[in-house]
């Protein structure tokens, strides 16, 4: 089924075998509550790797049934991250979730060359699925959090992650808008030139499974009228499923606009590792954290 609302992920997941979440240093109330909600929803089994005493006290504090979790005791955040990654590599978990440790330490465990989660040459990137309240479908966007200024190869990888995510959400031939400041091809603006290159690659079948158009201004990606006024008639315009951002400032601003200005929900994950990795920020709402877990479960 094609998912057009984030809640619909729960319906899909309910029909599938449960995925196993492994939370690295999952000792704080944010992580534990989010994982607990996901377990209660019946979409995942959860393992919390971390200091057992801390975990149990958070459970008591929030009146949670700690028997819902598989708790693996580990005394420090760094060791917990390594252990969580090791569990994934051993096939004891399907996806990873960040707990109370810093993003740096979490990423280090994932990126570790010998015992991390990366295949050689793989590119780690962040994918967000947003449900803006005044848009008629989900918007799958990247990269808003990891790669500051993606080069052409990284942009191609991100585009492929966006497309893959769309496919997993049941969107068969997603429409991808490549963002720049304008629809004109301006060789001196890297985002403009690279958008033209990526669009051509898609036309030649070097990027598959999607309709890709760019460069486009943001207005033209989400509003067909704006595109037609400027003489661009592409099926992507006004009906985009995915947006590739040229840099982290643009992407991150969009992400925060969704949350803070539009008061809309989203889910986000890190792609490019052997399994999806949940990377929620403490600022994210409870609902968004749950959606992130659901999204990871969909992709795992």
């Amino acid at each position: 089924m094609q998912i057009s609302k984030l809640d619909q992920m729960f319906d899909v997941l309910a029909t599938r075998p449960k995925k196993r979440l492994v939370a690295a240093w999952g000792v704080d109330s944010h992580t534990i509550l989010a994982a607990y909600m996901a377990v209660e929803k019946g979409i995942v089994d959860a393992t919390l790797v971390g200091d057992e005493k801390l975990i149990l006290s958070v459970c008591r504090e929030h009146n949670l049934d700690c028997s819902q979790f598989n708790i693996v005791h580990c005394p420090t955040d760094v060791k917990s991250a390594a252990l969580a990654v090791e569990m994934i590599n051993k096939g004891e978990g399907d996806f990873l979730m960040k707990g109370l440790l810093s993003t740096d330490r979490y990423m280090k465990a994932i990126l570790n060359k010998e015992c991390g989660l990366m295949d050689p040459g793989a590119i780690l990137s962040h994918v967000t699925v947003a449900e803006p309240r005044n848009y008629h479908k989900l918007l799958i966007v990247g990269d808003v959090a990891i790669i500051p200024l993606p080069d052409l190869n990284q942009k191609i990888a991100i585009t492929n992650y966006l497309i893959k995510t769309a496919h997993i959400l049941g969107i068969e031939n997603p429409k991808v808008g490549l963002l720049s400041a304008s629809e004109q091809t301006l060789p001196k603006i890297p985002s403009s030139a690279e958008a033209a290159i990526i669009a051509k690659m898609a036309q030649r079948g070097q990027i598959k499974g999607a309709i890709v158009e760019g460069p486009l201004g943001f207005d033209m990606i989400i509003d067909r009228e704006s595109a037609l006024i400027k003489g661009v008639d592409s099926p992507v315009c006004g009906d985009a499923d995915c947006i590739l951002f040229p840099n982290i400032e643009a992407g991150n601003t969009f992400y925060k606009t969704i949350i803070k200005l539009l008061k809309s929900e989203l889910g986000a994950i890190v792609m490019g590792a052997r399994v999806p990795c949940v990377l929620t920020s403490r600022g994210d709402g409870e609902r968004s954290k749950l959606y992130s877990i659901a999204l990871a479960a969909m992709l795992a």
Binding site: Q184, T185, P187, A193, A196, K200, M201, R204, P215, G231
Partner: protein
């Protein structure tokens, strides 16, 4: 629409006009032979600038003296300057190179104060090639001037070739951007440029044409190859214009067609305020004649 080079010559003959051609350093049998036929046929009026005595020796006796003019300037550099000056002052419609090195000749054309190139304009070369095995003329650039054209120069090459094709009556020419493959690859710079050029044409930044590339010659000019490879191209294997990534490939392509493909051509320098003819000595008599006919077509007021 002009689909054969002979039709191009017919058009020049029937125009009823005599295009004034300033020939720089004309004392050269090759050059004189090239212009004689067109002079006889009455569609050009050559002004032969150079050593008068030598020029007269080369002219056949039966050509009427009112069909041409000679300006006696024996110093080649001065002869070139005189020829360029005539074109600048609208005393001639076309400039043609005679017995002088291409470097010296083009230097005069490129001169910022006294030359024929508008400020910031790109000088390039386009030729129309006729080969029995293709169903129409094929416009090719750049076979002679730009060695490694950058993006802006490629845009100019497309614009000049499109302008020329439109003079032949092809309203919306199909422009193929030629590479060894149809794939976009960061290791081949021209394929990246081509992606930009396609999008520029799509966005109306390059006008009056349909552009696709990268394409190889098969995919550009043969619908069967497109079908076999399963590639969609708006050109449908029916290209009018081929833009090459560099001088070596374009030059080899056209020379291959001349030598092995029974090709004939008509070519010109583009980007100048008036047409400029630079011919290679090894070009066939017919091709030289077609170059003159082409210069007449391009010299016409739009």
């Amino acid at each position: 629409m002009i689909t054969k080079l002979d039709e191009l010559a017919e058009k020049a003959k029937n125009s009823g006009k005599k295009t004034r051609i300033a020939v720089a350093v004309a004392e050269d049998s090759n050059t004189i032979n090239a212009i004689l036929r067109a002079t006889y046929e009455g569609f050009i009026y050559p002004v032969l600038i150079g050593n008068e005595i030598k020029i007269k020796e080369l002219l056949t006796s039966d050509i009427a003296s009112n069909q041409f003019e000679i300006r006696n300037i024996t110093e080649p550099n001065k002869a070139v300057k005189e020829a360029v000056g005539m074109v600048r002052n609208n005393e001639a419609d076309v400039l043609m190179k005679g017995l002088i090195g291409t470097d010296t000749f083009l230097k005069a054309v490129l001169d910022k104060e006294k030359g024929l190139l508008p400020p910031k304009a790109v000088m390039s070369y386009t030729c129309a090639i006729e080969i029995p095995k293709y169903h129409k003329l094929l416009f090719v650039s750049d076979t002679a001037v730009l060695i490694y054209p950058d993006l802006d120069q490629k845009i100019a090459m497309i614009n000049y070739s499109v302008a020329m094709a439109r003079r032949f009556g092809i309203e919306k020419p199909k422009v193929a951007l030629i590479s060894a493959t149809e794939k976009v690859s960061p290791s081949m710079q021209e394929t990246l440029d081509y992606a930009l050029l396609c999008k520029m044409a799509e966005r109306g930044q390059i006008k009056n044409c349909i552009v696709d590339g990268p394409l190889d010659i098969f995919l550009a000019c043969d619908p069967n190859s497109l079908a076999i490879k399963g590639i969609q191209s708006p050109l449908e294997g029916d290209a009018d214009i081929l833009i090459f990534p560099n001088l070596e490939s374009a030059n080899s392509f056209y020379k291959g067609l001349m030598l092995f493909g029974e090709g004939e051509l008509a070519g010109l320098i583009c980007g100048t305020t008036k047409p400029v003819i630079v011919m290679s000595r090894s070009e066939s008599e017919n091709s030289k004649y077609y170059c003159l006919a082409l210069s007449c077509l391009m010299a016409e007021e739009k």
